[in-house]
């Protein structure tokens, strides 16, 4: 009995020893920074000078800052186009590539490849595709008699253009949908077939409801990603002309945060911006969770 408790104590200690790197990392790179960033958001500070306590000053300033609202609008416009588009295309590809026919695994690989390409490379390629004069897209649009817009150079089209490009990296979404499809027992489809359901009915009443937990997961993760979009916007705005170009039309929220933090070194203000973003993501996730029982179907219920 005594030996047992010594062993248990030893295992206890070893457990902590094994996770020690993570515990240190958690304190230094996660918990510490979170606390410090709350503290910082109540200060005016430019790294090089002294910290000045200004209470809610940053937050007050933020709510009267037109660029804050503008960048939020830009980011949500992007998310509203990008997230549903990626989910729908991901689902369609998964449905197409689900049947185990010869060659589907090759297509799965091909559709996944763009997701592993460094985003700077992807963005560079797409700046060319979207180029109004020499680009591939307007070349093809012209062939079918459409006069393409200026895409990345147009204040109207720059955000949709970056959002459409998101389909290029549909790979992970597709793979997770495929995994979701593989989880659905074949008997359901067979039974529905016997009952005379056609493909659309089976899709509508069996596949989609059974995939809803997967959709739920993907919706949340893709939305979180979309609200944190940075690199594409930074690189592609105005066809690579620079920050938020043209005329701040591509000033995404995280771009604005970067500008405040790293162009002006307003670390306090940037921290306040990061907290608002965190809050928005948190509240949205909560809302999605709360409403999920209306549209997410779990097999046991």
């Amino acid at each position: 009995m005594r030996k047992r408790s010594i062993l248990a104590r030893k295992e206890n200690l070893e457990g902590y020893l094994f996770i020690l790197p993570w515990i240190i990392g958690f304190c230094v790179f996660t918990a510490g920074p979170i606390l410090f960033s709350v503290f910082l958001s109540f200060h005016e500070w430019h790294i090089f000078d002294d910290m000045k306590w200004i209470g809610l000053g940053n937050y007050k300033m933020l709510f009267t800052d037109p660029l804050f609202y503008h960048s939020l609008k830009v980011t949500f416009e992007y998310a509203i186009i990008n997230v549903p588009l990626v989910l729908i295309v991901g689902l369609l590809l998964a449905l197409l590539l689900y049947p185990k026919v010869k060659g589907t695994s090759v297509f799965r690989t091909i559709f996944y490849i763009p997701s592993i390409v460094p985003v700077v490379a992807t963005a560079t390629l797409w700046i060319w595709i979207y180029n109004p004069e020499y680009g591939l897209l307007n070349f093809f649009l012209e062939k079918i008699g459409i006069d393409g817009p200026d895409w990345l150079y147009s204040t109207e089209w720059v955000v949709p253009a970056i959002a459409f490009m998101g389909v290029w990296t549909v790979g992970p979404t597709m793979i997770i949908y495929l995994a979701g499809l593989e989880d659905i027992p074949q008997v359901y489809w067979d039974a529905a077939k016997v009952d005379g359901a056609n493909y659309w009915q089976r899709l509508r009443y069996i596949t989609l409801p059974l995939l809803s937990p997967t959709t739920f997961f993907l919706f949340i993760t893709n939305l979180m990603g979309a609200l944190q979009t940075f690199a594409q916007a930074y690189i592609m705005g105005g066809g690579g002309e620079g920050f938020g170009a043209p005329a701040n039309a591509s000033l995404f929220y995280c771009l604005y945060l970067y500008e405040q933090g790293w162009s002006w070194f307003n670390m306090g203000y940037a921290s306040a911006l990061s907290w608002i973003l965190t809050l928005i993501i948190f509240v949205l996730t909560l809302i999605i969770f709360k409403t999920s029982n209306k549209w997410v179907y779990y097999e046991r219920s």
Binding site: A8, E11, N12, L13, E14, G15, Y16, F18, I19, P21, W22, I24, G25, F26, V28, F29, T30, G32, P33, I34, F36, L40, I47, R108, T109, Y112, I113, I116, V117, P118, V119, V120, A121, T124, L125, W128, P172, I175, I176, A179, G180, P213, M224, Q228, F230, A231, Y234, G240, C254, G261, W262, M267, A270, S271, S274, W275, L277, T278, I281, T285
Partner: protein
Amino acid sequence: MFPKKLNFDNYKRVLELFPWLTFLKNSAIITFLSTVGIVFSSSLAAFAFATLRFKARDKLFLLVISTMMIPYYTTLIPQYILFSKIGWIDTLKPLWVPAFFGSAYFIFLLRQFFKSIPRELFEAAKIDGCNTFQIFYKIYFPLAKPAIITVIILQFIAAWGDFFGPLIYLQSEEKYTLVLGLNAFRGMYYTSWHYLMAATCMVTIPSLIVFLIGQKRIIGGITITGMKS
């Protein structure tokens, strides 16, 4: 519209125009060290969470999972300030040292795998006189090879293609990674599409090779994270 003949001179010219080899060296250092760090720290923690019994284990694991939900930008500014206070700005260190302190995502991925290894192996090794660390590196680590390879590939691709980290931490050109180099190159030669595409290919090819070697494992790894447990 379309080019007429195949021509490798573009690559030669691009290599002459920019110090790509320096960028390659920096990218390689960051990618290699961060991958080593991630594998080491995450597998240790994952092993403990999967097999050892210690106080508050499940609560701590829940904490690991919940850190995956924290947006990148929440902790970014204090981390930047921390690194600037210890003089690490414009060095490669901020881009690989944190990897030695584990990643929630990979701890989760590896823990799921370690859990599938029968507990009897652990007990048997213990009776044979192995200590816990030996059980880890002689039995669990080799058995988890497929999962470890997944982690290596995913981390390689993430570190290789990272843009934001190098953008804020690296300033002088001799510290640039390939990705930053490509971005700077794009800024200078934005009308020379042939050079730009050649440079883009150079930056992309290593990721592509790593992906093609381990594509089955990546897809398996992505699937695990989408699982409802």
